[in-house]
């Protein structure tokens, strides 16, 4: 059955709705105008991804949430390239949240580009072919004799040209081509991909236009804040809401019991008023007695002692056990041990959590800066017992994400408050709320032991990983160790076990989950082993990689040792590895494979007597396949380096009695401009499918810097942040 035959019905907007099953089950919906009419404001040609408007401009819909990773620019670039549009004609708008049409719409796991690459190329190539065929028909020539050229269809022999805008109406009546009819551009012919394209919201950002979740305003909207128990899961015994209700600007105050699941809707006290300031001021005067009697009094200081005790025994779970590790240690020329520790981290996006919700009689409307809009709708349907089809979510730009907004607790709180008020409300968290009620990157501990044989190679590796669990069953989010982790999968003799500490905090995915801590531990210990073996670290790393191959044969999503070696060599070359150094100066190197990206980082720094670290230069060498937007890709990598420097320098949160101690940026010192070193980014653009840039440059930064600090001053750092060992940046 041809795609045209599947034309089903005329929908209420007067468009034919044609659905074709493309992309392994993801539906590409093409909306074609019933009557093409450029005069009534309707697009002359409209698909779910592209509209050609009456003024000949091309409107492309960005399908994923924008959180600063640049997809609102890079995803439309892919469509525009395959459409062979002139980028100057392109306007970008955020698409509707619509899973049947767009498939995955989530900002997480550096997946947006990788997961939508094929779909967006097909969306662009489909429109391009329809435009080309429309021109051929008009000129009465064979389509094969026509080509496209940056927004025009051209006839090669006669030299005739027509702008896409002049062809849109005719193109809309062309049959939608089948997938096997589509032609994709050769990389050499790209006009848009791989170039430097500036962000599509830049103009709005620099003029202060309302773009973000926090900027949302509706007629009749009330403002709300929500106070929760300092320790997770506390319930309200009593409160002074009767006094609070009398305060100026306060409309109402009430207790919400929550739904019993602190990951979704925790118990607390809501204050609703006429302005943000009125409710924030009233919130400070809240007096609430919490029932925390059933809660576990989690303690970070106690956990650190317990973890060290646990290291005396093997872990309770086996991660991997290959070769003969015990024999390797007996036969070893050198054996070394190291106890590594990484802290709990909040996400701290600069825009505190907020959401606007309107619980109407039979439907819920949400405006949210979320990373996971489909989850927000799906969970809201369950929590509030309404059909998902009655919930509409408007995706708004987010002031940073870093994984925090994969959780939608703030959305559900806004809905619950709106339900109670019967009015649209905007819920605003404070920075203190955000620090106290995050879903944290949990801490972790590793007891490592390594063996070097008489030839100076790693002959044995043993790890006991003490991680956290929040449900007494599985590891917390982003806190597991698997047998394919680097370097376990590369070694002949490796044994890793794990154990879990319980913690009464919510856990979450944090930029480069898992890798953000594991890279520091593994790459630092590999460096320790190279030092113990009296070997050059670069040669040692390359030897570990061995011959170019996929680590999981046939799995092109696994680590490729050839790609790894190339980026390691490039980073070393760019940092001038092996050059003569001044006293107190050190070079450090590290590699990590995360989110399908192969990334190496090299650091050149100096350490003075007061343990102050001056970073002279950081070099990133990365292979994430072809670069989509060079401006965005470079920016993401530099941002990842700065985020990683920030984190390794001084960032951590601690907790006692189940409550987070740090409350605001004065206790969570993000890196500043004057601490930011020169950073260089080098891409090795291999021909594999492109993968995301938001995360993979982060993990190798901490070990590269700590390895350089060791070379500079002889002190091995096994605990992050380095401020705990007296170092400053």
């Amino acid at each position: 059955m041809s795609i045209e035959d599947r034309a089903m019905s005329v929908n209420r907007r007067g468009f034919f709705k044609i659905s074709s099953a493309l992309m392994g089950g993801i539906l590409l919906e093409i909306h074609l105008p019933l009557v093409a009419n450029a005069d009534n404001g309707k697009p002359a040609l409209a698909t779910a991804f592209v509209e050609i408007l009456a003024d000949k401009s091309i409107q492309i819909y960005a399908t994923s949430p924008e959180i600063g990773q640049g997809v609102k620019t890079s995803l439309p670039m892919i469509v525009a390239e395959e459409m062979d549009a002139d980028w100057g004609d392109v306007r970008v708008r955020q698409s509707a949240i619509d899973k049947p049409t767009y498939g995955r719409q989530e900002a997480g796991g550096s997946e947006s580009v990788r997961a939508s690459w094929d779909m967006l190329r097909e969306a662009g190539a489909t429109v391009r072919l329809m435009l080309l065929r429309a021109a051929a028909q008009q000129w009465r020539v064979l389509p094969d004799t026509c080509a496209t050229e940056a927004g025009y269809v051209v006839h090669s022999t006669s030299g005739r040209r027509l702008h896409y805008g002049d062809l849109a109406i005719a193109a809309a009546s062309q049959a939608v081509p089948a997938k096997n009819e589509l032609h994709f551009k050769e990389k050499a012919d790209y006009r848009i991909l791989g170039k430097r394209i500036t962000g599509v919201d830049n103009f709005g950002i620099v003029t202060g236009a309302p773009l973000f979740g926090i900027d949302q305003k509706l007629p009749g909207m009330l403002y709300a804040c929500y106070e929760k128990s300092p320790a997770l899961g506390g319930t309200v015994v009593s409160s002074n809401i009767d006094e609070i209700k009398k305060l100026n600007g306060v409309v109402d105050a009430f207790v919400l019991d929550g739904n019993g699941n602190s990951e979704e809707l925790a118990a607390g006290v809501a204050v609703v008023g006429n302005s943000t300031w009125a409710v924030l001021k009233a919130k400070r005067q809240l007096k609430i007695r919490w029932d925390e009697s059933q809660l576990v009094p989690s303690s970070w200081s106690q956990d650190q002692l317990t973890a060290k005790e646990m290291m005396k025994r093997p872990g309770t779970q086996t991660v991997t056990n290959k070769g003969d590790v015990d024999a390797a240690f007996v036969d070893a020329a050198v054996v070394i041990e190291g106890f590594y520790q990484t802290p709990f981290l909040p996400h701290a996006p600069l825009e505190p959590q907020n959401a606007t919700a309107w619980y109407k009689d039979d439907e819920i409307e949400i405006w949210a800066p979320t990373q996971a809009p489909h989850d927000a709708v799906r969970f809201a349907a369950t929590i509030f017992d309404v059909p998902a089809s009655s919930i509409t979510l408007h995706q708004l730009r987010a002031g940073g994400g870093f994984g925090r907004r994969l959780m939608n607790d703030f959305v559900f709180e806004a809905i619950a408050i709106s339900q109670k008020m019967g009015a649209p409300i905007k819920l605003q968290w404070t920075r203190e709320d955000d620090m106290a009620h995050d879903c944290y990157r949990v801490g972790g501990f590793h007891g490592l032991k390594g063996a070097i044989d008489k030839d100076g190679r790693i002959s044995g590796w043993q790890d006991h990983f003490v991680t956290y669990t929040t449900d007494a069953k599985k590891p917390a989010r982003g806190a597991n160790l698997n047998s394919r982790e680097f370097p376990l999968a590369l070694l002949d003799n490796a044994k890793a076990t794990s154990s879990s500490l319980p913690v009464a905090l919510r856990s979450g995915w944090w930029r480069a989950p898992g890798s953000n801590a594991l890279a520091f531990v593994m790459q630092s210990f590999i460096h320790e082993l190279s030092v113990a073996a009296k070997r050059d670290h670069l040669a040692f790393l390359l030897e570990l990689m061995g011959e170019p191959r996929w680590l999981d044969p046939g799995n092109t999503r696994s680590l490729n040792t050839g790609r790894a070696s190339e980026v390691i060599k490039r980073a070393a070359q760019e940092i001038d590895w092996g050059k003569s150094r001044l006293s107190g100066q050190g070079l450090g190197l590290a590699f990590h494979f995360s989110h399908r990206g192969h990334f190496a980082v090299a650091a050149d720094l100096s350490v003075d007597e007061q343990k102050h670290v001056t970073i002279n230069r950081i070099v990133v060498a990365g292979d994430a396949g072809p670069v989509i937007n060079l401006s965005g890709a470079e920016h993401q990598c530099k941002g990842s380096v700065i985020d990683a420097l920030s984190t390794l320098a001084a960032l951590q949160v601690s907790f006692e009695n189940g409550s987070i101690i740090e409350s605001n940026f004065h206790q969570y010192p993000l890196l500043t401009m004057k601490q930011t070193p020169p950073i260089e980014v080098h891409f090795i653009e291999s021909d594999f499918s492109p993968t995301g840039m938001g995360e993979p440059a982060f993990p190798p930064v901490a070990p590269a810097v700590c390895n350089a600090i060791f070379q500079a001053c002889g002190e091995r750092i096994r605990e992050l942040p380095i401020s705990n060992s007296g170092f400053t940046i």
Binding site: R196, T198, F203, W277, G399, M673
Partner: protein, 176 residues
């Protein structure tokens, strides 16, 4: 009777009926709809809420209305005066400075105050003036470059950059 009028982007506003403790930030955002000024920390430690008060960069989250009678305030919405974009804003777009963009209006206000007082800042001057404005995404290298670009009057997009926005392209004098 003391004056209760404050001037914001050249327009006078009477704030007599409002809570004198209300920080300027929330007055701008909720009462005037000038939402370019952002809430980040509420304690004056991140800089997202930076505005100019009598030309000086100040934290609007820590400045109550009661302190502002008779003062002249400029927000990001008034930064370019009668132009569509000021030079710093053009440089910000051309160098593709924003990532999430949330801190950028505060960064721009801090940068413009710097250049008024010190039109030819050294890199150290820029670092010193800008290090109170946090960027969680790490856009500092491009902020620094954009300020230098304006200070050195080399306001041209680097070779090979395609500016998305037509209005900006026109303002940069680019042929379109």
């Amino acid at each position: 009777m003391p004056t209760t009028s404050i001037t914001i982007n050249g327009k006078s506003h009477d704030v007599q009926s409002l809570d004198p403790e209300m920080p300027l930030l929330w007055y701008l955002r909720d009462e005037l709809g000038l939402v370019g000024t952002k809430f980040g920390c509420g304690i004056g430690s991140c800089g997202a809420c930076t505005v100019h008060i009598n030309g000086l960069p100040m934290r609007s989250c820590r400045t109550p209305l009661s302190m502002l009678a008779g003062q002249e305030i400029t927000t990001i919405e008034g930064l370019s005066g009668s132009d569509v974009l000021g030079p710093l804003q053009k440089a910000w777009v051309a160098l593709d400075v924003p990532q999430c963009g949330y801190c950028q209006s505060g960064q721009l206000m801090a940068a413009s105050a710097l250049l008024v007082n010190n039109p030819q800042p050294t890199d150290d001057d820029i670092d010193a003036a800008m290090s109170g404005n946090l960027c969680r995404c790490g856009t500092y290298p491009r902020i620094r470059a954009a300020i230098s670009m304006v200070a050195n009057e080399t306001l041209n997009p680097p070779t090979g950059v395609q500016i998305y926005d037509l209005e900006t392209r026109n303002n940069l004098g680019e042929q379109t």
